[in-house]
């Protein structure tokens, strides 16, 4: 496993740190330094709230290498409150619970482990918003 690659992505993986465009205010995730809307430089860091909703989702039964341990699991496109669409795993829910438009929130979870002795990679996943559940 490439330790350095995971380490470089820690800020975005642990905290959803993206960028915001100085000139038009668009929020970018993942960070890419240039605004997708107006092409101006966008290097100011912005930490996303982690709130959003399910835009679309699927269930993975035949998992790629490194993720077999968690199969079956769900992967979704999450529409963040601030605008960007993020691909991420869903967690703390059964496939029968998922719905398009469902409010979700970011949590930091184990993404994968490199065998018994390798590093543990942590990053964002999304789960049903707990505040929503307790408010009912």
């Amino acid at each position: 496993m490439e330790v350095s690659r995971h380490w470089r992505l820690q800020a975005q993986r642990y905290q959803l740190v993206g960028e915001t465009c100085d000139s038009c205010g668009v929020k970018l995730f993942p960070p890419r330094d240039v605004c997708l809307e107006c092409e101006a430089p966008a290097q100011e860091l912005y930490t996303f709230t982690g709130l959003g909703e399910i835009y679309s989702y699927t269930t993975i039964y035949d998992a790629p290498a490194g993720f077999e341990h968690n199969a079956p699991y769900m992967v979704a496109l999450i529409k963040l409150e601030e605008g960007p669409l993020v691909t991420a795993q869903l967690t703390d829910m059964d496939p029968s619970e998922a719905q398009i438009g469902m409010p979700v929130e970011m949590v930091t979870r184990k993404l994968r482990t490199d065998g018994e002795e390798g590093m543990i990679v942590y990053g964002y996943k999304f789960r049903p918003a707990v505040k929503e559940l307790t408010a009912v």
Binding site: Y14, T108, R109, K110, Y122, V130
Partner: protein, 357 residues
């Protein structure tokens, strides 16, 4: 400057401190004790609790500590860059060598100008970190220090501890008294070398001394610490609205509370083990969070942890007006407990990585 008195052992910092923020975490899954009994006794054995909390496949002490820490930060509403220590107490750190605390510090934005370390003392590693945080803030070395008690506790299949060894815990941010939701008047520690429970290096499951875990271990230290602290601050059980004790099961903390003279209405709110199990390093601290979720300004709280090996830390706290506006900012401890999905023994063995392939 406080006059140090070696005869009463009260630990009290020079500058007054308190809890500036707190947060709990309980994973979603529950296995009923009756299901474990079904597996090992044909359902004929007695069970020590109703059910215990189990972490999901993608959860460990690092991820659970991060969520509890985020809840503490939401309640405290401070800049994470002002934290000078992030300490995680656990006996289930994901790595044998590599700190959990740096992962948590990174995730809450506290790096790089901070101390970070992992603590270990069986079930009282979290309250040890709390005492050290009190000292850090109380000495002026830090404005804020974050202490966490969190575990994904190990129970050998079929062992008595399998019914209770659970996942969960809490984070407590220590800060200056004038920003506190609850003041900490003082604390007291009581330890001896008592081999009631241990886990050797590379062992998957702990060993314990069966009945030896009661009188010479849990009760001696919990009662010893509680009585010494109350004597040192000149209070009796009647002075406290709430009391919370380490809860390895439902019976031990009830017996300890009653032996000290506390009534059920004082200790029931913080007694979560019947519904979530023994969260080890998280056990006493998450009980405290359940009390802070409902306590009123002026209420006094007695908190007494216990860690095998063995020792207890006792704390005297008093709730301030600030708690009322802060507590609603994050999910309550009961909110987490209400988020419940029951699993069977087969799912439990998979989630707890008990299947060796």
């Amino acid at each position: 400057m406080n006059a140090y008195n070696p005869t009463n052992g009260l630990m009290k910092p020079d500058r007054p401190v308190g809890i500036a923020g707190y947060g709990a975490y309980v994973p979603r899954y529950r296995i009923p004790a009756a299901e474990i009994s079904r597996m090992w006794t044909g359902g004929t054995g007695g069970v020590p609790i109703k059910e215990k909390a189990v972490n999901g496949l993608d959860e460990d002490v690092a991820t659970m500590s991060i969520e509890a820490a985020r809840n503490a930060m939401i309640r405290a509403q401070i800049n994470p860059q002002e934290i000078r220590a992030v300490w995680v107490g656990s006996e289930s750190h994901p790595y044998a060598v590599k700190p959990t605390s740096t992962i948590v510090a990174e995730a809450i934005g506290a790096v790089p100008n901070t101390q970070a370390a992992d603590w270990e003392f069986a079930c009282k590693a979290g309250t040890e970190a709390m005492q050290a945080a009190i000292a850090f803030v109380g000495s002026g070395m830090a404005r804020y220090a974050l202490s966490i008690g969190m575990d994904t506790a190990q129970g050998r299949p079929g062992d008595a501890l399998e019914y209770t060894a659970a996942a969960g815990g809490a984070a407590v941010l220590i800060g200056p008294a004038d920003e506190s939701l609850a003041l900490i008047e003082g604390s007291y520690s009581f330890v001896t070398d008592t081999p009631d429970f241990w886990r050797r290096a590379h062992a998957d499951y702990p060993s314990h001394g069966d009945r030896f875990t009661g009188e010479p271990a849990y009760f001696k230290h919990v009662l010893g610490a509680a009585e010494a602290l109350m004597t040192a601050v000149n209070r009796t059980p009647a002075d406290y609205r709430w009391a919370v004790f380490h809860q390895p099961n439902a019976k031990f903390p009830e017996r300890a509370a009653q032996a000290l003279g506390f009534a059920p209405e004082q200790f029931k709110t913080g007694l979560l083990s019947p519904r979530i199990g023994n969260t080890y390093s998280g056990s006493t601290m998450i009980g405290l969070t359940a009390i802070l979720d409902v306590a009123e300004p002026g209420d006094r709280i007695l908190m007494v942890s216990y860690g095998s090996g063995a020792g207890s830390d006792a704390f005297d706290l008093q709730v301030t007006e600030r708690l009322l506006e802060a507590r609603g900012r994050a999910i309550s401890t009961e909110g987490y407990i209400a988020r419940r999905t029951e699993i069977d023994y087969a799912t439990y063995t998979r989630y707890r990585d008990k299947l060796k392939m």
